[in-house]
């Protein structure tokens, strides 16, 4: 069984001008695909874990195997957290839940942006929910995935430098401001209970 790279939900130029085609090309074809290739290389040695799903690997593995599986999963979730038709204020159930948990969309936006821009080094900022749909913002370091801590991811923002360096250089806050123009509220709603 070989691990496959899930297709990008849109064309590589679909998120422009917010995120360039060049960024998506490198981020998807080199980084995301790179993790899949590496996992398959490791799986070729027929270890006990080969064939397990990404979620299972995230929950049970560590080290280099965890890193590949988690990064594959994280990136797939990231692409879905963005949409060419995204952005703007949240609608549907997620809007209610955001107000409940954070007071207002603006308050949530400020907190999430702070978590994403303030993270030291590589990692991810997540909106997660518990079994009662209570929302929370968490950040994970490097390949960290909140499933491992029992959270249910709702949205994510990649803050590894490769996610923004081509378009924004060192200016991570500007990249995060752009993320809000692409955020996929439909996907967020689909991750609720």
């Amino acid at each position: 069984m070989t691990y496959e790279l899930p297709p990008l939900p849109y064309a590589k130029n679909a998120l422009a001008p917010h995120l360039s085609e060049e960024t998506l090309n490198f981020h998807y074809e080199k980084h995301h695909r790179g993790y899949v290739n590496k996992l398959n290389q490791l799986a070729a040695e027929k270890p006990a874990w080969a064939g397990k799903s990404y979620e299972e690997l995230i929950k049970t593995e560590s080290g280099v195997v965890f890193n590949q599986a988690a990064q594959i999963w994280n990136h797939t979730f990231y692409w879905k957290s963005l949409s060419p038709n995204g952005g703007g204020a949240p609608t549907g159930k997620i809007a209610e839940l955001i107000n409940e948990a954070f007071g207002s969309f603006d308050a949530f936006k400020e907190k999430f942006s702070a978590a994403a821009s303030g993270h030291f080094g590589s990692g991810w900022a997540w909106l997660v929910r518990d079994d009662n749909n209570k929302l929370q913002i968490v950040s994970t370091h490097d390949a960290g995935n909140p499933i491992k801590d029992g959270h249910n991811p709702v949205l994510t923002c990649d803050v590894w430098e490769h996610a923004y360096y081509i378009d924004f250089r060192n200016d991570r806050p500007k990249y995060i401001a752009t993320w809000w123009n692409l955020v996929n509220w439909e996907f967020a709603n689909s991750n609720l209970k």
Binding site: F120, G121, E161, Y165, R169
Partner: protein, 226 residues
């Protein structure tokens, strides 16, 4: 009369308590060469961003954290002091690491890339790893494998009088291990992305052309002094 006295007492009570430290201002060191001096190994584009944006931000954020720390200390707010420690470690480490890094590099016309066999550190490397090439292979393999952001280091162990290759995550300075830094290679993506994209191993292969072995030797002689 009474009101005035009370006001005087109140003012006295608000007088700042003695600080136990003064926030020191750190500053961005100048590069020993022009931004484009290491091109094409590391482009002027990267060097300018790396020095004037990334390193500069560590310096500014370190100073800001230390100012807040001094303020917290003067108020005996231990909780706040502890909360600031990760920002001091991260930004302080970033400042320390990059300050070393700039001196560890030199243009080829100034000796960059030339591991002079007369250097004591080159002899120590040859003795321990078999050859400089073998050392570079090991260093690169370990450093390429850093997950996320971090650094590869050649350090000196004052206890064993030996040199060691080690990697550290994020901006953790080598001092946390007790080793003395001789040579550090930054493998945060900002160090190479514009020139090498995701190909970290290519960057690691090329950077040895601009490693300032004279500086590594100076650091080795200093560290190995009895």
């Amino acid at each position: 009369m009474m009101i005035t006295s009370r006001r005087l007492l109140n003012n006295a009570a608000k007088a700042p308590s003695r600080s136990f430290s003064t926030a020191k201002k750190f500053s961005l060191p100048a590069l020993p060469y022009n931004y484009d001096a290491l091109s094409p190994v590391i482009s002027g584009n990267i060097m300018e961003l790396h020095h004037s944006k990334h390193h500069n931000a560590y310096v500014n954020n370190l100073n800001a954290a230390l100012e807040q720390y001094a303020d917290a200390e003067s108020k005996n707010d231990v909780g706040k002091m502890i909360a600031l420690q990760s920002a001091i470690k991260f930004n302080g480490g970033g400042h320390v690491n990059h300050s070393i890094f700039w001196t560890n590099l030199a243009p080829t016309k100034e000796g960059g890339g030339f591991a002079d066999p007369k250097f004591h550190v080159v002899q120590a490397i040859t003795k321990k790893f078999g050859s400089v090439e073998a050392f570079v292979t090991k260093f690169n393999s370990q450093t390429a494998a850093v997950q996320g952001s971090g650094w590869g280091w050649l350090g000196f162990n004052r206890n064993t009088h030996d040199i060691e290759v080690i990697t550290l995550p994020n901006q953790d300075p080598l001092s946390v291990t007790g080793l003395v830094p001789l040579l550090g290679v930054d493998v945060w993506e900002h160090a190479y992305y514009l020139d090498y994209k995701n190909a970290r191993p290519d960057y690691l292969k090329e950077i040895w052309k601009v490693v300032n072995w004279k500086n590594v030797e100076e650091r080795y002689l200093e560290a190995s002094k009895k």
